[in-house]
């Protein structure tokens, strides 16, 4: 085995044999799902008991107060014989009521004639719940003024949800067999994959940085210097860690393919609220080739993106003696990664906008942005150009990093300035 191969193998084994690698590889997909579901779960469970709101309704027959429905968020109590002022005095304590909702006599004509007076700070969710219910009541009240028969039935009939099935036109003329797609699902996949890229580059990039600093601190590099060249040391480390990343992606690919083949068919799609959406989920995630294609792309971009950044992280690590000194260089390297993440967020609105296109071709942001665009089924040539540019930039960045690394690893003491790095770059 070549020297670089021996170093790759050491770096690889050191990482995959750790318990933390095995745990993280299995736990990360679970954590990501949990992270995705967390906001919804938090919304559902963070409100606690329903807030007690007393209603003073001055409309005729207090029809608004009677129509308000108590739920898990808010519970309404209509005060029949009390004026607004009396209620404010009587329910001025948080223990008695969260607040007083007053509805004015001419509410149907003047919808702003309504007030929520709270005894403690309010929340957006509560306000939205109340104003939502009031709007619905108002809508029905106004429709009633037209004296249409069967208005309740008409309203119920009119309240439908459209389930739009989007097809990708393949020019065959047979839309029954066209590939079904959904922007919602594409956005979801895009978000997950874009975030994955971001996390991989940062986590594994930081591993390179920390590992080079550790080798420099522990003086292992001084021992290695007559066993291999600095370039072999750097590339061995980077490729070893890249191999770890590749294995992790491969394991996830297997897990998700397994889920797609065995778990997706078990979901009762017909019982779901939106049958078209459910059917798209089933076709998208049930399609093993689609999943393999996504993971192949993910692998190419993770490796390309990682290699591009890893050499820069290695150069930064080689230049300093302690982690704290690396922060300045670290921040500069992280900036384009964060920029990529910001651009990724705009990709969902229009995956084919010029900004999305350019940032998915420029190598420093391309891994994250392109990976977020791929689920939207973009032209292949764009992927080809983006990958070629990415891998070409990796060669360039490695060349630059290697020139800094070969000198940096032997420099101890004062943190080098940018000028020093420049002079190392030029040193023959």
């Amino acid at each position: 085995m070549s020297r670089i191969g021996i170093i790759i193998s050491r770096e690889f084994k050191e990482r995959v044999q750790k318990k933390s690698f095995i745990i993280m590889t299995i736990l990360t997909p679970v954590l990501m799902i949990a992270l995705g579901a967390a906001p919804t779960l938090m919304m559902l469970h963070s409100t606690g008991d329903a807030k007690q709101i007393v209603v003073v309704d001055d409309t005729e027959g207090a029809f608004v107060g009677r129509a308000l429905k108590s739920g898990s968020l808010v519970s309404f109590q209509l005060l029949e014989n009390m004026t607004r002022q009396e209620a404010i005095v009587a329910y001025s304590d948080e223990d008695k009521a969260f607040g007083i909702l007053w509805v004015g006599r001419d509410f149907v004509r003047h919808p702003d004639n309504v007030k929520l007076i709270t005894n403690t700070s309010s929340s957006v969710m509560i306000e939205e719940e109340i104003s939502g219910q009031l709007s619905d009541i108002l809508k029905v009240a106004r429709l009633h003024e037209y004296n249409i028969d069967n208005i309740e039935q008409i309203l119920a009939d009119a309240d439908v949800k459209v389930s739009l099935a989007t097809m990708k036109n393949d020019g065959s003329g047979d839309d029954g067999n066209m590939e079904q797609m959904s922007s919602d699902i594409a956005t979801m996949i895009s978000l997950v994959f874009g975030m994955m890229l971001y996390m991989f580059i940062i986590i594994y990039g930081q591993q390179v940085l920390a590992s080079v600093i550790e080798e420099k601190q522990s003086r292992v590099l001084d021992v290695m210097v007559t066993s291999c060249t600095p370039f072999e040391m750097m590339m061995g480390k980077i490729l070893g860690i890249a191999a770890v990343a590749a294995v992790q992606v491969a394991i996830w690919c297997v897990l998700i393919s397994f889920a797609s083949q065995f778990l997706i068919p078990m979901i009762p799609m017909e019982e779901m609220e939106n049958p078209a959406f459910a059917s798209t989920i089933s076709t998208t995630f049930g399609d093993i080739f689609y999943i393999l294609k996504l993971f192949a792309m993910l692998l190419l971009y993770i490796i390309g993106g990682f290699l591009l950044y890893a050499s820069l992280f290695a150069a930064a690590g080689s230049a300093v003696d302690v982690n704290q000194d690396a922060q300045q260089f670290n921040t500069i390297i992280m900036l384009p990664i964060i920029l990529g993440l910001i651009v990724m967020m705009s990709v969902f609105n229009d995956p084919n906008s010029p900004m999305a296109l350019w940032f998915s071709i420029i190598p420093f942001t391309s891994p994250i942005v392109m990976m977020a665009r791929i689920p939207f089924d973009i032209p292949f040539w764009q992927i080809a150009v983006s990958l070629t540019t990415l891998y070409a930039s990796f060669i360039l960045s490695t060349w630059i990093a290697a020139r800094i690394y070969r000198i940096g690893i032997f420099m101890h003491g004062k943190k080098p300035s940018w000028k020093d790095l420049g002079s190392w770059l030029r040193t023959k």
Binding site: M1, R3, I6, I7, R10, E14, E215, S218, R219, V220, L221, D222, V223, M224, V225, T226, S227, C228, T229, F410
Partner: protein
């Protein structure tokens, strides 16, 4: 002399500071060569230049008659002064890693390592992590990693630092054994005793320059320059008169146990040593007559202070 490594007029200047000034030396194959000098003299810079970590401003380093290449460096066994190992790795695994980097296959590496581990009585450590070893223990492992590929040239930078006397002695024996098996050893130190004990030749570097070079025996003898110590009693006349001014006293005489007197003398010429011994013997009861060879420590201090 069969020269393995030749350093020709090597100079190196760092910003405003001359680290090496026209240093030359020749190192004979199969010898132990001491590179001596006070801290900051330029020893480490010279070793870095030999290892091509740093390139000289001018001058050449020749190995086996050709200018040293990166591939030559990969064959050298180098134990740096600041040494380290991967803390989380197990001893055996780590030693195999370094041996494989030096071109050994896994089986040969394991076999040789087991031999070395037995020789240094550390077979129990094979599965221990480096972080669980003491500094001295880790140094032993590091020493093995340096010599495992049986290099023809070994460079040790302060090899005995961090060792207790017993282990330092063990290491000395192993270095001598490596030399006897044909390896050439360069070692840099400011520990004079170790130079005396194991070096065949040496160079003393001070303030970036080579101020003294040669075989250890020769240097000590030259520095000694015919200084003798005599122990006697009942001397009838002054020494200068007895010897016809061929010998002169150095310092005051001392009375020692048994009624004897002890005196250091300097004999100007090698040819006169025999005559002086005869003359002294004829004129007193001579108890002993002994050449005083200075210690390397004396030579080091005198050389550094420009007294040689």
């Amino acid at each position: 002399m069969d020269t393995i490594l030749k350093i020709e007029n090597v100079s190196k200047t760092y910003t405003g500071h001359k680290a090496l000034d026209n240093v030359s030396m020749e190192i004979g194959r199969g010898t132990i060569y001491g590179l001596l000098g006070p801290n900051g003299a330029g020893k480490s810079t010279l070793i870095r230049i030999i290892n091509r970590i740093t390139l000289p401003d001018c001058g050449k380093v020749m190995l086996n008659g050709h200018e040293i290449t990166t591939e030559d460096i990969m064959k050298i066994g180098y134990l740096p002064e600041e040494r380290g190992l991967y803390k989380k790795m197990r001893v055996g695994e780590q030693a195999v890693f370094f041996a494989r980097l030096k071109g050994l296959d896994r089986t040969t590496a394991r076999k040789r390592l087991m031999d070395w581990f037995e020789r240094l009585s550390i077979t129990d450590w094979w599965d221990k992590k480096i972080e669980d070893l003491s500094k001295g223990m880790a140094q032993k492992v590091q020493f093995i990693c340096t010599v495992i590929h049986q290099p023809e040239l070994l460079i040790f930078d302060e090899p005995f630092s961090g060792f207790d006397p017993i282990n330092a002695d063990l290491l000395k024996r192993e270095i001598l054994r490596l030399r006897d098996n044909g390896a050439t050893v360069i070692f840099s130190t400011h520990n004079m005793e170790s130079v005396e004990e194991i070096c065949d030749s040496m160079t003393l570097i001070n303030k970036s320059r080579n101020i003294l070079s040669g075989s250890v025996e020769e240097i000590r003898r030259k520095a000694g320059a015919n200084i003798f110590q005599i122990v006697f009693s009942d001397m009838t006349r002054p020494l200068a008169e007895i010897t016809g001014n061929k010998a002169e006293c150095i310092g005051e005489s001392e009375s020692i146990i048994g009624g004897f007197t002890q005196q250091k003398i300097h004999i100007a010429s090698d040819d006169d040593v025999h005559d002086v011994i005869a003359a002294v013997n004829d004129n007193c009861r001579l108890r002993s007559f002994q050449e005083i060879v200075p210690t390397m420590n004396d030579i080091f201090i005198r050389a550094v202070n420009d007294q040689l």
